[in-house]
Subunit: 209 residues, 2 copies
């Protein structure tokens, strides 16, 4: 706790600056898009000097990937409704909502078109997805405990099945993405789970020579 | 047929030039990537003058999208094995193979990273996907005729369910994509179809005032 440590304020200030700069980055993305994003504009919007930004982020790319990763990591609450179907529906609808809000659309455009060529963006996409998977695992664990899913259900496989049709529509087919998309993803995922198609792969037999 | 039309050769030559330029575009992509792609290098590789390229394509972007659309439209044969499971397995494995070959990897990198910011690329992704859906529809029609799927199975929904986990792994999670991925996609899709989760939506009731 170190309550005698009077230097706590600078840490608080640092966190506030970070949050303000992240928010300004997203706001600039929403208003003007990735191509027009600049450290100058972000600094001005956040009310800080641009050297303050450069002290924390090397360039606009590292600022962008940091802001996107933080935005995406925070926006999906993990539900606990007492039933797997309503938990999955809440998760899928949150995912849909996170990508269809104005901020979500700007994030999507930056991650998958404007800034898609940045290697850090590919890493951020993977990282955010893995992080969401890990945080959502209790949804599957609890469903197994309630007897709604078989004990060897693979949480990662289940969440990938849930998310895949949403991403396909966002990134490839450009079909409308809405609550119906989320609910349809839940139906497919539960059908697959109940049919035993989402089980952990058995450990491979060791190859003996 | 117009067999007396002696000007057939120029048409043939045009098609040959197109094919050679498309092939050279893909080869340049595979060898050097999107950033280094130039009309000059493509023309040299195809053995034509660069004015020949510019006569048919306005710039490297239209050349690229044209070559990618043609490449992707041609690479997925529609199977007819006599059973829905083996048909879907063949389709899913073809899709996996088309994206994991050296040419497929280069196409994927161009469409989803290097050139992802081009509006024509988004249109090409949608177009190619829709085109594949339409061509694969007989797979579902035949399965319905054989009594393997219920009559109101939605072919588009079924193929999206099949393709979605493959695209998710290619574009987001960067998990390995191989025959096991394809076969797993088939298991999930068939489980969903048999559970009635891939049916055509009933036509909405007309709203009466």
């Amino acid at each position: 706790m170190q309550s005698d440590h009077s230097a706590a304020r600078p840490v608080g200030r640092g966190a506030k600056v970070r949050a303000a700069v992240h928010a300004a980055t997203l706001a600039e993305l929403v208003d003007k898009g990735y191509a027009a994003l600049s450290v100058e504009n972000v600094a001005q919007r956040a009310g800080v000097h641009k050297t303050t930004v450069y002290r924390r982020w090397e360039d606009r790319e590292s600022l962008l990937t940091d802001a996107l990763a933080e935005h995406m990591a925070m926006d999906i609450p993990v539900p606990d409704t007492g039933a797997i179907e309503t938990d999955l529906r809440a998760l899928a609808r949150s995912l849909v909502q996170s990508f269809t809000s104005p901020a979500g659309q700007a994030v999507l455009a930056a991650m998958f078109t404007g800034a898609a060529h940045l290697p850090e963006i590919a890493a951020a996409r993977r990282h955010v997805f893995d992080d969401r998977l890990t945080r959502a695992e209790p949804v599957v664990t609890r469903a197994i405990e309630r007897g709604e899913l078989v004990g060897d259900t693979d949480p990662a496989e289940l969440f990938k099945t849930l998310a895949a049709p949403i991403y396909l529509r966002l990134l490839i087919t450009a079909d409308p993405v809405d609550e119906a998309t989320a609910d349809q993803a839940v139906r497919v995922t539960l059908a697959a789970a109940h049919a035993g198609a989402l089980r952990l792969a058995p450990a491979s037999e060791p190859v003996t020579g």
